[in-house]
């Protein structure tokens, strides 16, 4: 350390120590145990389990549905967050509280409710099925369940960021002659993008591990609508703890790589944004067209 920085609050050492112990106990220890357990299996065996036809199909379904659900929430969550921050309307507080409900509801309850709604004789399913759209007991049902469960992530990460963008910025852009689209694409969106990515990554990560809500609506047919967590449970039902941890470790590694990629993207855009210009300047640039 070259220059000792003076901090307002004391106790950095204590807090850091606490942070490390806390994270180790809660995250590193269980995950380390899991990885240690798979050390009993060879690398070839782990690959064998992960690359079986049934596992591959389940990985495809899990990652595909999770990406789709996180994507849907990134788009619609942005709209919801924007509306909730920028526009006053009657019942706004109520709607705002609704967003958190998927967090509070036991996921199994969510799964059973969604399955009942989207089944052939359900309120929604009875209208969708004549149109040839089957949701319950198909991979589409998995996407619906995951979209429901992960809805709050994007909305809640975006809300404070939108609150931080003062409406004056939009007014400035407009007064400098930017069109509405230009204001959005060149001023608002770049400021929101890092938070949007965070929300997307959180939703995606949550969706990957989701079990309770999915199994009731998925249909659970091998090769078609089985998710990886179900295969893990299936292994545990066979008392095959090693096989289950092997699947879990592969899942963890894949998720980690994907989340790392999302973080890198976020870091890159944040950097670019920081190096570029403050919002007010962006407003001017948007109005001026090409910079």
């Amino acid at each position: 350390m070259a220059a000792k920085t003076q901090r307002v609050l004391p106790g950095f050492g204590l807090a850091l120590g606490y942070t490390l112990v806390y994270l180790s106990l809660l995250i590193l220890l269980p995950l380390g145990g899991m990885i240690l357990k798979t050390a009993d299996l060879g690398f070839a065996q782990i690959l064998d389990i992960a690359l079986g036809e049934r596992s591959l199909a389940a990985f495809r379904v899990t990652f595909g549905a999770s990406l789709l659900a996180a994507g849907i929430n990134a788009f619609f969550g942005l709209i919801v967050a924007w509306i909730l921050v920028r526009y006053p309307f009657p019942g706004k507080r109520f709607v705002d509280a609704l967003v958190d409900l998927p967090f509070a509801l036991p996921t199994a309850v969510a799964g059973i409710t969604l399955a009942t709604l989207y089944a052939g004789n359900g309120w929604l399913g009875s209208h969708l099925e004549p149109l040839g759209l089957k949701v319950a007991y198909t991979p589409l049902g998995i996407v619906v369940a995951l979209t429901f469960v992960t809805l709050p992530f994007v909305v809640r990460t975006l809300q404070p960021v939108i609150e931080d963008i003062e409406t004056e910025v939009e007014e400035a852009a407009a007064s400098l002659g930017a069109s509405r689209w230009q204001t959005f694409a060149r001023v608002i969106f770049p400021a929101l993008f890092p938070a949007l990515l965070t929300g997307f990554a959180l939703a995606f990560a949550r969706a990957l591990g989701e079990f309770g809500s999915v199994i009731f609506i998925a249909g659970n047919l091998p090769l078609i609508s089985e998710i990886v967590p179900l295969l893990i449970i299936s292994k545990l039902e066979q008392y095959d703890v090693l096989g289950a941890t092997a699947l879990a470790v592969v899942m963890l590694a894949l998720s980690f790589i994907l989340l790392l990629a999302v973080n890198a993207l976020q870091w890159w855009t944040a950097n670019r944004h920081k190096n570029a210009e403050p919002l007010e300047a962006a407003a001017g640039r948007a109005a001026g067209g090409q910079s």
Binding site: N121, I215, P222, L223, L236
Partner: protein, 332 residues
């Protein structure tokens, strides 16, 4: 403040007194839907034990998926007895040395105090005319079952269909696998568990037939009304067993061997058997089976031991990774 403290100490005292009143405590780790059976059984046993020995027992229950419960016991849940719905779960505890190796011989009837049978639930009037396993594999029939690989209920259905196909003229394992494959292709989904399958069939009105335990049919009648469905008994079906065992390691440590053994033995008493019958489980006592004949029509059954050479063998051949279920679904 004083009154708060007083009531707190009163509460603590009553808690202490509550546990002090009981001379011993037994924990029964059991499968999910057994709640009613043992809720009714426990007071019967407490009364019997008090009269016999003067000792008052506290009986605790723990319920969950059969294999989850067994894993908990293996990992240190101090259950004195296990009452399960799959023999291979108890077998797992025997392998771990928690339960006697010859646990099936410790009690009569393969250590299973009561049984049930796999039956068909069909729509009122049986519009598709489903009478036997063969009809379930016919084109255009939708069959609702829980996941055959992961759930006890689904496994029982699978084995019933397999055994039926074996017993047909010219039946062999090859043909049985083809038959079960055809039947499973008629399943639009695999439900998460037994109750989920029931909800899918009864509430969401999906499928033409639900395969489930005979005892579940009575639950459906209570929940959805008797007039909404019919029960069909196939020509041959699996007699499902509900094995019980004393967890040796725990009773030795706690000194509760006598109580735990008596708790399980009493399941075969007249009172224990009648309690099973009242919960729609087939008692072993032939007199009671006759008394409750309205619930339990005669049906030709087989046991897993007879056809598949034991629960463990059946499990390894059919449900373990690479078993016949995987061959049907994955390796075409």
């Amino acid at each position: 403040m004083i009154s708060f403290r007083r009531s707190l100490s009163a509460l603590l005292f009553s808690l202490l007194a509550g546990s002090a009143l009981a001379d011993a405590t037994l924990l029964n780790a059991s499968y999910d839907v057994a709640r009613d059976v043992y809720k009714d059984y426990n007071p019967l046993f407490q009364k019997y034990w008090k009269a016999k020995t003067g000792e008052s027992l506290e009986l605790k229950q723990s319920h969950g998926g059969s294999s989850k419960q067994v894993r908990a016991v293996a990992d240190g849940l101090e259950a004195d007895v296990v009452t399960m719905n799959q023999a291979n779960d108890v077998e797992f505890l025997a392998e771990k040395g928690l339960v006697a190796k010859d646990w099936t011989k410790k009690f009569p009837n393969n250590a299973s105090p009561y049984t049930s049978a796999m039956v068909f639930i069909v729509r009122k009037g049986n519009p598709k005319g489903l009478k036997d396993w063969g009809d379930l594999a016919a084109p255009g029939v939708q069959v609702i079952v829980p996941h055959p690989k992961n759930t006890g209920n689904g496994r029982n259905t699978y084995l019933s269909a397999w055994a039926w196909a074996l017993k047909q003229p010219g039946g062999n394992d090859q043909k049985a696998q083809e038959f079960v494959g055809k039947l499973l292709k008629n399943a639009p989904l695999f439900a998460a568990g037994g109750r989920d399958a029931t909800t899918t069939f009864m509430q969401r009105q999906l499928g033409d037939v639900l395969v489930t335990f005979e005892s579940e049919a009575e639950m459906i009648a209570k929940e959805f009304g008797k007039g909404n469905f019919e029960v069909v008994y196939p020509s041959l079906t699996l007699q499902t067993e509900f094995p019980v065992a004393v967890v040796e390691k725990v009773v030795d440590k706690k000194g509760t061997r006598a109580q735990a053994t008596a708790y399980l033995e009493y399941l075969w008493s007249r009172e224990g058997q009648e309690n099973a019958a009242q919960n729609y489980l087939r008692p072993r006592d032939p007199d009671l089976l006759k008394k409750y004949a309205a619930f339990f029509p005669p049906v030709k059954t087989f046991t897993v031991d007879e056809v598949f050479g034991g629960a463990n063998k059946a499990f390894v051949t059919h449900f373990k990774d690479g078993g016949s279920f995987d061959r049907i679904y994955v390796q075409k």
